[in-house]
Symmetry: C2
């Protein structure tokens, strides 16, 4: 039997247009890993009546209820008393908790404000969950076949508390279910094309939950296997992942959720080769992504952001005639940029981007979204034209993705020879 | 009397670790603008019992209830019948809706699948909200002093539907309340320092809601004024914003939510001056941010990502002795990089970043997070040292912020002379 959970996030700031609850994403992952399904999430402010009704309904409907936030020392922090009321329990004062709090404040060189005394009250019968990273302890109340868990809001307090004191209880309640997750990343194909190609494969694995998500410029294939045997879950997942890769081929660039810049970086590290980049419309985004990987200084030598034609000529040696005859956004310029930066930096590979990110600058022949990617290695220089939909942000992001992916595919081909 | 609202997002995919409801942020902004306060948000899957209880409780407790999603044609799309049930109303078949749907499918060159017939059923007594961007119409049910609004999930269907058919009804229910919002951005100060400095000011404006948010490398000061007079709300907001700027001084870089790259870009556009950048540890992030602004090609001439020492010497003319004596991460190198790129590009301003983003590369003297920003104009070259906390991502982001902010402050000083 699959156990069910609900998550209640408490805090007025989570009901503004600027912020929302994100703790529940992390908690959902942990609960799913234990084989528990999250059925409902609520975000509520410091409204006592609504919070009480929410917790009472959740405990009635679901096996595990986790609240986050609202455990601070101020009047607005109502989760402590309201969660007690929702399950018909008093709050009990714990002298040793107050003493501990006073000592902590003293170790910070301060006296404990009297208001913090409220944090020494605990739901009767609940286990106290220590908080090494803050003043609010958590609470765990075991009810017949159910768990009510009350956690603080800050992620760095909530996460270790869950891992250290809650995870084992959840696992005990959920029973011997093992869940393994895996994420493949796919580039150069659309969401529906991926689904069409792999649906016949994953449908043959009804015990693996497969979800296909589109994110900016790539497709994520999430696989989740549940089994009573840990080995079996891992085996089924590996088998399905391999079959998907065999079907999609080169389009699968990551078998374990790695980013494209990590994959390219690993290929370069392994071969001991080096790279340089030349960018126009992406303005540094390709270099930024490549250098987001720790240790990238071992293979990334230099990047040029040549926004003006003068810079393209001066720094990359793009011939004036190329710019005049074909324009700055052209296959010829992209190739000259790629070979130019490769030679300048003395790198094994050069990659270049030139295009029209908009909103201005488009024409009938080269509308906004027209992008050329240039590639150069010791034996060849090539380019590819793309037409990206979207706004300036998305066109730039997709251009950087196309540049890294084109590099990856050309490197694989060069190595396959 | 302030009207209250609840938002219910429907969809199993919103209960996964990868995705959450974001429609509610946009809806909250719209509701707040009309003077309506959002009291609770629920995210629920295709679980009929939980969804029915959620909608019934929400309608009981709050003046406005908006559901999003779950209006598609499949069995999993349960919002239509469940929301009817929750308010005790039947669904009524609308022949003209089916005819309209059939016609639409025909215009796409397809026959309407029989399953889509379900989208022609509407809660008895509800107003039909047309959907030019999809097949699911919305519904608006007026109950005594209350509104139940049922909207489709995709943002490009939901947003125009709300603007065109819901906003006016919400405003009519909320009464003549005018809400004005304004956001100031502050750089170079911490959250609590900002709060300490401006709390005495904003406390004198109890009718303006002030919230201070920290985001990666800057502080956002959100001001929301509610008034029965539109002019009064705007006047109060302007007055408070001016007082905050007078107190915080140069640290306030935006009075209307502009990004730092937009502010720097506007300064350069207005003066007709040009800029070039040289980056080491940020790897292109400064160039990327500067060129995110449409029209930046008018003032941004060139960027150099000089990751290796060779590139720093070759492209920027940093003397080998400077690198040998002071190291790549030093005030001297940052200054040589800034003046080097300025001269190379023939720009009015040069800005440079060199530092240790980690996780490796730190030392006792220059730990991870040590960053030097270099600045150069026609009359002077200077630098500043920073020690940023955080991981590689945050150190790089904060370095780019420091570079843009140092440029902004130096430009302001140069112009003030």
């Amino acid at each position: 039997m699959t156990r069910t959970a609900e998550i209640v996030a408490v805090g007025s700031e989570l009901l503004t247009p600027e912020k929302t609850d994100t703790n529940s994403l992390w908690l959902t992952e942990k609960l799913n890993e234990a084989g528990v399904e999250v059925m409902l999430k609520t975000i509520v402010g410091d409204d006592e009546a609504r919070l009480e009704e929410t917790i009472r309904d959740a405990v009635k409907r679901s096996d595990i209820v986790i609240t986050t936030g609202g455990l601070g020392p101020t009047e607005d922090d109502v989760t402590r008393q309201v969660s007690g009321r929702a399950v018909g329990r008093e709050l009990v004062y714990h002298e040793e908790l107050e003493a501990h709090l006073r000592e902590r404040f003293r170790s910070w060189g301060r006296e404990m404000p009297e208001i913090n005394k409220r944090q020494a009250y605990i739901i009767a019968g609940a286990e106290i969950l220590p908080n090494p990273n803050g003043s609010a302890v958590g609470m765990l109340l075991e009810l017949p076949g159910k768990l009510l868990v009350v956690l603080p809001g800050p992620p760095r307090e909530l996460m270790p508390m869950y891992e250290n004191f809650v995870a084992a209880k959840v696992r005990a309640l959920a029973g011997d279910i093992h869940v393994r997750r895996r994420m493949l990343r796919v580039s150069g194909m659309g969401e529906s094309a991926v689904d069409e190609a792999i649906a016949p494969i994953y449908r043959a694995y009804p015990h693996v939950q497969t979800s296909i998500l589109f994110s900016k410029s790539e497709i994520e294939v999430h696989l989740t296997a549940k089994s009573e045997s840990e080995d079996e879950a891992a085996r089924v997942l590996d088998e399905l992942a391999e079959k998907i890769r065999d079907t999609l081929g080169l389009a699968v660039f990551a078998m374990n959720g790695e980013t494209l810049e990590e994959v390219v970086g690993r290929m370069l590290s392994e071969s001991g080769e080096t790279l340089a980049s030349a960018e126009s419309c992406t303005g540094g985004l390709v270099g930024m992504r490549l250098t987001e990987v720790p240790g990238s200084s071992a293979y990334f030598l230099e990047g040029a952001v040549t926004y003006s034609n003068e810079a393209k000529m001066r720094t990359l040696g793009v011939p004036e005639t190329t710019l005049a005859e074909h324009g700055a956004v052209s296959a010829e310029t992209a190739e000259a940029m790629a070979s130019g930066i490769r030679e300048r930096a003395g790198a094994d590979y050069g990659i270049a981007v030139t295009g029209i990110a908009g909103p201005g600058g488009g024409s009938a022949e080269k509308p906004v979204g027209t992008v050329f990617i240039g590639y150069s290695d010791k034996s060849q220089t090539r380019s590819m034209r793309f037409n990206f939909p979207g706004d300036r942000f998305l066109i730039r992001w997709r251009s950087s993705q196309a540049a890294l992916d084109y590099l990856r595919r050309r490197m694989l081909k060069a190595k396959a020879v």
